[in-house]
C-alpha cells in the first residue's frame, strides 16, 4: 500500500476537499494504482541531474512600473457569489 485511507483523508483536508466514505475507499484504491505506476521513475538514474521546471530558458520579464487601466470595482465584483459595497462577502471568519 502506497497510501492509506487516513492519508487520503489528510491530503483531502490539505486540498480543501470532502469525500464520502464510499469515495474515500474508491480514491484510496485508485490513488494506490496510480502511485504504484509512478514507482517506475525509481528505475531512472538521475544522479547529478538538475530538476527542470520549464522547457524554455526563461528570464525575468521586467517592465516599467507605469499606471495602466485596470478593472473597475463593479466589473471585478460582477462574478462574485456575494458582494456588499466594494467587497466580496464570505461567511463569518472570526467567532
Amino acid at each position: 500500500m502506497k497510501i492509506t485511507k487516513e492519508e487520503v483523508e489528510y491530503v483531502a483536508h490539505l486540498a480543501r476537499l470532502d469525500f464520502s466514505e464510499e469515495e474515500k475507499v474508491k480514491f484510496t484504491s485508485q490513488l494506490n494504482d496510480i502511485l504504484m505506476y509512478m514507482d517506475k521513475l525509481n528505475e531512472a538514474d538521475t544522479a547529478g541531474i538538475e530538476p527542470m521546471s520549464h522547457a524554455i530558458a526563461l528570464q525575468n520579464a521586467f517592465r516599467e512600473d507605469t499606471v495602466k487601466d485596470s478593472l473597475s470595482h463593479e466589473l471585478s465584483l460582477s462574478n462574485a457569489p456575494e458582494a456588499r459595497g466594494p467587497f466580496f462577502r464570505v461567511p463569518k471568519v472570526i467567532e
Binding site: 496510480i34 505506476y37 520579464a61 517592465r63
Partner: protein
C-alpha cells in the same frame, strides 16, 4: 460543396473575389450546426446572435476592401479561453456561471484578424481527460462514429471542425489535448512550442506544459491560424520575444533533403495493428517525397507518462486552489464558516477526475513526498528533454503515431484512470520538452475511423512541421472523405 465544408483559404478566395460574404458563410455554418449539433454536441455555448452581428461588420470591411487574415471566417473557441461578456466554463460546474471581464490574448488576436466567433466548445473539465467525457456539460460524440469519443481534452473543438460546425477552432494542449482529438476526429491540430502563443486568459491547468493551438481542416489553414495567434505578449511573462516567421511560406517548400527520425521506443506492444500499418504507409509516402527515414532513440520514453502524471497534477493542485467560492463561480449553500464553505464548494463544484488529480498533486507536493515524486519527476523531465536534443543531431523532424488506438467507445475507459492516461502516451513527451508537434490525418481503419500521424520538431521550428505536414497531406489526400452525419 456547401460553404461550411470549405477551408479558410478556399473561403478567402471567394471573399476576395466578392463571390460570397461573411454573412452567407456564417449562415451556412449555423445551418450546419442546427442540423448536426443535436447528435455531436461539440459546443457548450453558441454565440449565434453575436456571430451574425460580427459577420455584418466583416461584410462592411470586405466592401471597403479592408480584408485581413481571417476576415469573416467562423472560428470556434475551446471553453477554456476567456471571452469578455461570454460564459467561460472550462467544462466545470465550479465555473458554470463565470463571465470573464476580459478577453484572452488569443481572442484579441483573432478578433483583430477579423474572425467571427461561433461559440465555446466542449472539453474535459479543466482540460483533464482524453475523451471529453468529464465535462459537466455532457459528452461530445465523434462525428465519424457517434458511439465513440472524439478524444480530449479539446474534443469539442476537434469535433466542431470535423463536423463542419465551424471552419477552424482553438484548443489547448497540456499532454496531447489538441493532437490526440485531432487524430481521432481526422483533422489537423498543432501544439506550438511552449512560449510561442500567449497563455494570457487561458484558464490554467499545468502552467509549465499548457499551450494554445489551432484545429483546422488542412495544413494550409493551420499556417494561416498560426500566423494570427503566435507572437510575444507583454502580459504573459513566459511568452517568448522572438520574431514569428510567415508560416504559409513553408507550405510549398517540399521535404527533399529532410531526415525524418523514427523513434524505436514508439513502436511498442499494445499499438493497434492498423495504426502500425498506417505508420508504415506514412514512412513510405515520406520517402517517396524525397525525405529519408532514419531510426532514432528516445531512451527515456517509458518514463514520460509517470513524469507527466506527477508534474501536471502538482501544478494543477496549485492552480486550482483559486476556486474557493469567494470571487467568482459556484458557491455551495448552507456553509458553516469559511473552511466549510471552501470544502463544500470545491467538493460539489469539481468532478471526480479533477479531484483525483488535485489529490495526486497535493500528495506529490506534500511534506515528506516532494523529493520522491515532484523532484524526481522534474529530474527525469530534464532527461526526456535531453533525449530530444540528442535526436535533433540525427534528424530534422520526428514521426510517430499520434495515438496508440483509434477512437474508443464512450464509457470504455471511464472507470480505469490509468488506461485513460495511456491514450496520451505518444503526445506527452512533447509538452514535457516544450517542443512543437502537429497531428495530420493519415488514413482510416477498416471500420472507417481516422488515424493521425504526429510530426515533432525542435523549439520554435513550427515551420518545419508545416513544411512536412503540407507535403504529406498532399500525398495522403485524406480530405476526400467526410463523416456521414
Amino acid at each position: 460543396m456547401e460553404l461550411h465544408q470549405l477551408t479558410i483559404h478556399e473561403l478567402q478566395k471567394l471573399i476576395r473575389s466578392k463571390e460570397v460574404n461573411s454573412s452567407e458563410i456564417v449562415k451556412s455554418v449555423f445551418k450546419r450546426i442546427d442540423a448536426v449539433e443535436g447528435s455531436v454536441h461539440a459546443y457548450i455555448t453558441l454565440m449565434k446572435e453575436h456571430a451574425f452581428e460580427e459577420a455584418a461588420k466583416a461584410d462592411r470591411c470586405i466592401r471597403e476592401g479592408n480584408i485581413r487574415a481571417l476576415t469573416g471566417i467562423p472560428v470556434a473557441l475551446k471553453d477554456i479561453v476567456c471571452t469578455k461578456g461570454f460564459l467561460t466554463t472550462c467544462g466545470s460546474r465550479i465555473l458554470h456561471n463565470f463571465i470573464p471581464p476580459y478577453d484572452a490574448t488569443v481572442v484579441d488576436k483573432l478578433k483583430e484578424a477579423g474572425a467571427v466567433f461561433t461559440g465555446k466548445t466542449n472539453m474535459d473539465e479543466f482540460a483533464m481527460g482524453s475523451s471529453t467525457e468529464t465535462s459537466y456539460f455532457g459528452i461530445t460524440k465523434n462525428p465519424w462514429a457517434l458511439d465513440r469519443i472524439p478524444g480530449g481534452s479539446s474534443g469539442g473543438s476537434a469535433a466542431a471542425v470535423a463536423a463542419d460546425e465551424c471552419i477552424a477552432s482553438i484548443g489547448s494542449d497540456t499532454g496531447g489535448s489538441i493532437r490526440q482529438p485531432a487524430a481521432l476526429c481526422g483533422v489537423v491540430g498543432m501544439k506550438p512550442t511552449y512560449g510561442r502563443v500567449s497563455r494570457y486568459g487561458l484558464i490554467a491547468f499545468a502552467s509549465s506544459l499548457d499551450q494554445i493551438g489551432p484545429f483546422t481542416k488542412d495544413v494550409e489553414d493551420c499556417a494561416i491560424m498560426m500566423n494570427v495567434i503566435a507572437g510575444h505578449d507583454p502580459r504573459e511573462s513566459t511568452s517568448v520575444p522572438l520574431d514569428v516567421p510567415d508560416y504559409t511560406a513553408f507550405l510549398s517548400r517540399g521535404i527533399d533533403s529532410f531526415k525524418v527520425g523514427i523513434p524505436k521506443e514508439y513502436f511498442i506492444e499494445g499499438i493497434d495493428p492498423e495504426i502500425t500499418e498506417a505508420m508504415r504507409g506514412a514512412m513510405k509516402a515520406i520517402e517517396g517525397l524525397g525525405a529519408t527515414c532514419v531510426e532514432i532513440s528516445l531512451p527515456h520514453t517509458e518514463y514520460c507518462l509517470a513524469v507527466y502524471y506527477i508534474i501536471a497534477p502538482a501544478e494543477a493542485s496549485s492552480n486550482l486552489a483559486r476556486y474557493d467560492g469567494v470571487k467568482y463561480g459556484f458557491r455551495a449553500d448552507d456553509c458553516k464558516g469559511l473552511l466549510d464553505m471552501y470544502k463544500k464548494t470545491r467538493s460539489a463544484g469539481f468532478g471526480a477526475e479533477v479531484k483525483r488529480r488535485i489529490m495526486i498533486g497535493t500528495y506529490a507536493l506534500s511534506s515528506g513526498y516532494y523529493d520522491a515524486y515532484y523532484k524526481k519527476a522534474s529530474q527525469v523531465r530534464a532527461l526526456i528533454k535531453r533525449d530530444f536534443e540528442e535526436a535533433w543531431k540525427h534528424c530534422d523532424v520526428i514521426l510517430t503515431p499520434t495515438t496508440p488506438t483509434p477512437a474508443f467507445k464512450i464509457g470504455e475507459k471511464m472507470d480505469d484512470p490509468l488506461q485513460m492516461y495511456l491514450s496520451d502516451i505518444f503526445t506527452i513527451s512533447t509538452n514535457l520538452a516544450g517542443i512543437p508537434g502537429i497531428s495530420v490525418p493519415c488514413g482510416f481503419t477498416r471500420q472507417g475511423l481516422p488515424i493521425g500521424a504526429q510530426f515533432l520538431a525542435g523549439h520554435f521550428e513550427e515551420g518545419k512541421l508545416i513544411q512536412i505536414g503540407a507535403a504529406f497531406e498532399k500525398h495522403a489526400n485524406a480530405k476526400q472523405r467526410r463523416p456521414n452525419l
